[in-house]
């Protein structure tokens, strides 16, 4: 790793905007934070005195909990705002909400929104750091970072790996962030789904697309199996849930034909018996729960880096104004 490298971004909005070096740097820093999460006292004073707001316009348990724990383990104070119970209901705009949160002297805003690009709008409107916790179909950068962190931990590298992303590619921000991140770090990415769930032109992102699961599994070093989001409009893409398991579900039989050390990932929550059988989810190739553990280390690294960069930015602005 380059010793001279310094993180300078006040926000983390998506992996599309990052260089390979920046992504590597986050992963390296996350490795250091992982050590913290294995201690008896899992807390460091790095963000003492800072306040983190989790601003969630979409329901989320695991991502929010992960960010909350990450912030607390950095000694920050955390405030959770769920949009369903806030003034958003009364018609307040995103920017107004952001400015009001900023007026509370909050240092970091972690935002999840059902509209793609909402975190970008927020980041331009406020001087606090903004971290995207998932926006529409756009990006979910910390999920992709924790996937890549887990992959690197398991296989020692990202470059040159064959990674297949299987599931609803069309409506998945997890897929999009993974594609940006993995291709930047030199992995060969294949996406696989029923035709209606593969967006047209996806090859332009530097991936191979296929509707044939066997093709996607053959030679894969890792697979990232996405959740079928029945609460969204995916039901039209295939006749029934059972049909999906039959054609696209990861089963023991299918796994038996793959590389022996294949890494099986899933961002959760799993629909057991739909995109993946229970035996696979709980099997020896599955790293699903490690992904959850790594999520905290990755989010600690992200919160720490953007916060420090924002502090430096403010200090430098003050210094140049003084001079």
């Amino acid at each position: 790793m380059n010793k001279k490298f310094a993180w300078t971004r006040k926000d983390l909005l998506g992996l599309e905007y990052l260089s390979a070096e920046e992504i590597e740097f986050i992963l390296y820093t996350a490795g250091s934070f992982k050590e913290v999460t294995t201690r008896q006292i899992k807390k460091v004073p790095a963000l003492r005195g800072k306040t983190v707001v989790n601003l969630f316009y979409e329901p989320s348990t695991r991502t929010r909990a992960s960010f909350e724990l990450a912030a607390k383990r950095l000694s920050a104070d955390v405030l959770n705002i769920a949009a369903e119970s806030s003034s958003v209901k009364k018609g307040e705009t995103l920017i107004d909400t952001g400015k009001n949160i900023e007026a509370l002297k909050v240092d970091l805003i972690v935002v999840r929104h059902n509209c793609s690009g909402a975190p970008n709008i927020l980041a331009r409107a406020v001087s606090s750091s903004v971290v995207n916790a998932g926006d529409g179909w756009h990006e979910h950068p910390t999920q992709a970072l924790l996937d890549m962190f887990t992959l690197k931990e398991k296989l020692g590298r990202i470059e040159g790996l064959n990674v297949s992303i299987i599931g609803d590619i069309a409506h998945s921000r997890v897929a999009r962030s993974n594609i940006w991140g993995l291709t930047k770090l030199g992995a060969k990415v294949t996406v696989c789904a029923p035709g209606m769930l593969i967006p047209e032109g996806i090859e332009k992102m530097g991936v191979k697309a296929t509707t044939d699961l066997e093709e996607a599994l053959e030679g894969a070093d890792a697979i990232n199996v996405l959740r079928m989001q029945f609460e969204r409009d995916v039901a039209v893409a295939f006749p029934s849930k059972f049909e999906y398991l039959k054609n696209y579900g990861i089963t023991t039989e299918r796994l038996a034909k793959c590389k022996k050390e294949i890494v099986v990932m899933h961002p959760g929550p799993i629909n057991r018996g739909i995109e993946m059988s229970s035996e696979v989810a709980d099997g020896k190739n599955s790293v699903i729960l490690e992904q959850v553990t790594n999520g905290i280390a990755v989010r600690m690294a992200v919160l720490y880096l953007v916060s420090m960069a924002n502090d430096n930015r403010k200090t430098n602005t003050k210094a140049s104004l003084g001079a």
């Binding site: 790793m1 010793k3 001279k4 490298f5 310094a6 993180w7 390296y28 820093t29 490795g31 250091s32 934070f33 992982k34 050590e35 913290v36 201690r39 008896q40 006292i41 807390k43 460091v44 004073p45 790095a46 950095l74 690294a301 720490y304 880096l305 420090m308 960069a309 502090d311 430096n312 200090t315």
Partner: protein, 180 residues
């Protein structure tokens, strides 16, 4: 323009570390469990070297660890470039152990303050002592080293650079001052 003057060469540094190791070994009781923990980056290399010497002198196996104190610093926003967070490597319990904390240069004492905070998050050591290769004065906190390689009087604007084989390709200590 930077002007450098050499404070120690390779030989002098080794002698100095040897003396520190002897002093530490002298104070190890028969029932003492000792761990040497270096402050990253250069303190960690020095800790390794001192531990090897003590193991040879005292014929006693020591635990060796490395501490990254970046997350405990109180001057994070004051340093120009953002320091990189490295992992702490302490894979043993520090409870009731005699800990020798090692750093290259003792200056304001703030690094040591951070290191003490960080260490205490790992458990409850029986005793903590401090060994440094160079004490250059100008303390801002009530902290004192138990083992000192060399006292080097310095001006506040001077910089003491410890260069080590492991990190810099050669062993030496130089005093740098900006020429006006």
């Amino acid at each position: 323009m930077k002007e450098e003057s050499r404070v120690m060469d390779r030989e002098a540094m080794d002698k100095s570390l040897e003396r520190i190791a002897h002093e530490i070994a002298e104070h190890i009781g028969p029932s003492d469990e000792v761990a040497i923990i270096g402050i990253k980056n250069r303190g960690a290399y020095l800790a390794r070297r001192i531990a090897d010497k003590i193991e040879r002198i005292a014929k006693k196996k020591l635990s060796v660890g490395a501490l990254d104190i970046t997350l405990y610093r109180d001057d994070l926003t004051q340093v120009a470039a953002q320091p990189i967070v490295h992992a702490t490597e302490i894979d043993f319990s520090i409870d009731n152990k005699k800990i020798i904390l090692v750093d290259d240069v003792l200056f304001t004492g703030r690094t040591i303050r951070c290191a003490l905070d960080a260490l205490i998050d790992f458990g409850r050591p029986g005793r903590i002592q401090l060994a440094v290769l160079v004490d250059r004065g100008h303390r801002e906190l009530p902290i004192k080293a138990d083992y000192v390689g060399k006292n080097v009087p310095t001006g506040i604007n001077e910089v003491v650079e410890v260069r080590l084989e492991e990190a810099d390709g050669k062993d030496e200590i130089v005093l740098c001052r900006n020429k006006v």
